[in-house]
Amino acid sequence: MKTIAPMQTERLFTPFLDSVDGTLCLPASATAADIDAQAAAHRLRFPLILDATVTLHEQVAATTHAPASCRFGPYCDNILGINWRLPSGRIARIGERVVKTTTGYDWLRFLLHSGRRFGEPVDYVLRLRPDCGFHLEARFDGEIAALRNCVHRLLHSGWMHWWDAVDFIAEGASVWVRVAIHCPPGEARIFAAQLTGIASESQVRLTLQDSRPPSFDGLPDMVIKTTPDRAIGLAGELAREAVRCVALCYNGVVHVHLNAGEDIGERAHALMQPHLGELHALGGDWLSRWLPATPPTVTESQWIETLEQAIHGS
């Protein structure tokens, strides 16, 4: 086979909307409104929105998951490609516009939540999902043991695939479970019947609300990634010190919202210290948008140096 000559320029993404594949390329500075402006006409949506007022880049930098990650996975499974500005100012294409690839090493997932350590995103290629036209939000109230039982029933059955979100929320002394559903209007009564049954079996109170648009939690001040079975306990414990904790139950993610203040980073750091040992043993992690990344270990410093040489073009 003859040798194929190397390309002289990057094959960058240019803005597009592919209504057949359900993919959309737009600037990292886009907001939920910008996505909607293009996607809604094709009955498509990007479900991983945490805060409608900030840019996609800010959301992805703040956390790896959104409530709808319960059904659709983390951001890195829903962002297919990026135009990435390297520290040199040059822009490289990372990833694809198609929904699956195993072509080369996975820089996309490596870079996506790497902060600004290796550069920054210029454009994202998003994977959109069918907009079925109807949002339903359920709230379960009750004792914490009953709510745990309720979450167990929500997650440990075939219905789990069809909840957009199953979140345990702790705010001061109050706790409740929020379930988001997105479905065709004709299926809403089927979901409502199932939720009613779960509430009855779990002995918790159910409130159903049609909501358009769905409620957004805003950017968390810190994010903890643990296992699904530990997320509720951790959220409950941290809520004693925080304003609000939202546990994304299937993903094992806890979004922590703190009181504003200049020492917010220090408070986040202090809050995490008692949990770090167990978290690392489980292969979990945490980040706060108010704090720099943890320094690399000696071993990984060598790997990082090699990557940085390539990134800087030397």
């Binding site: 294409r93 198609v98 296992t227």
Partner: protein, 464 residues
Amino acid sequence: MSLLSFHLQRLLPRGRVLDSPAQLAGYASDALGYKSYRPDAVVIPADAEELVGFMKGARQLGVPVILRGAGTSLSGGPVAAQGGVIVHSSGLKRIREINVEGFWCEVECGVGLNELDAALKPHGVFYPPDPSSGPVCTLGGNVASNAGGAHCFRYGVTSNYVLGVEVVLLDGSVHRFGGPAGGRGPWREDWKRFMIGSEGTLGAFTRFWLRLLPVPEKVWTFRATYPDLRSIEAAIHALVAHSSYPAAIELLDPRGVAMVESSQMAVGLPKGSFMLLMEIDGPAALVDARVEPVAELLRKAGSRDVVFSDEDAIRQKLWKARKAAGGLLGQLSPDYVVQDAVIPKRALAEVLQLVYDEADAAGIRAVNIFHAGDGNLHPNFLFDSRVPGELEKVELISERLMRRVIEVGGTLSGEHGIGNDKAAYMPLVFGPDSMRLQWAVPAAFNPTHQLNPLKVFGNRCFTA
């Protein structure tokens, strides 16, 4: 005994080093078959400790090291393209833990995919990636090639389910990237991302932590045939946007249909038709209500024979043609090459026509059996490598196909990996900056390219 075998037997107990020609013959190729590279030796560590011991000594051996699961790769991945020692992972086959409350399991790299499925079943959870080699392939091979399968359209591929990996590097150091929680662990960066899909070029896997999902309560399988490419394309476009979120959307082209119908596996598909096979799943209350709308969608796109069922026995019959087609390829031709490109679905009809035109012009038989929902093409080119010029024709068709795939916005591989089969096409994908980033990854973990050389990038050559 060769000098290499002598040294290997100092690293591993007697009996776990293979070096006779008869023993090595079984490791000369992967499922691609037509390219054969006899390794110098094969080692079979009994456990992670032996694997670490081997890796510590391997650097001094000065020969390429190739990691291999069941050898079912379709990309020329786990073969000794530059000679050397194959490390067969069949000894590491323990399922260490199934944690249903936490939706994860911990498995060693030599565990078979279907073995894991069977172990998970009583717990009401499953691991979704389902490559057709499931009965034989190992999870190590799946993670190395980021394997997919028929149900990826909704459930995603291997990289969506790997929470953590344990890797042995060539200096014998053992690193755990992630774990049951699926984060970075104590590391600053998320190194597991590079390990998944790295095709044995960065380190040797020992074990994984994998994410699980509850088993869907009920499945409906649909089969429909279409008279032409345009009408089946319309059906696919409508299905991918449908609120039933199909789990699988598969296509068998008329040449594949003819192949099945002229075999003992015939199921009575209309001559000259395109066959579409798709599934929806979910709780009975939901999924039963979706059956008629889906059937109507399939009819509206132009099918006059939509068949569907939720009964296991009938569902197996509906899948029969799709499953038989893969097996029949090997009976029809001494050799075949299967490509794995992924394209934007609006280009499906155009790219398939290109496959037919190029193959027909070259006198090469082409059969398409693929994951249409993902736009993941699997054109199979049937040929005889003993006939002078046939392989060259297939390579020329493949190159033209790949060039067009990239032009329409697609990529070289969706689930098979690059191996040495597609390595030559990598310059079509990566520009100067992204290519530099690609090369930086093996430079960090395997700078001499001793692990699986000549794979992923054709000029990744090991120099002792």
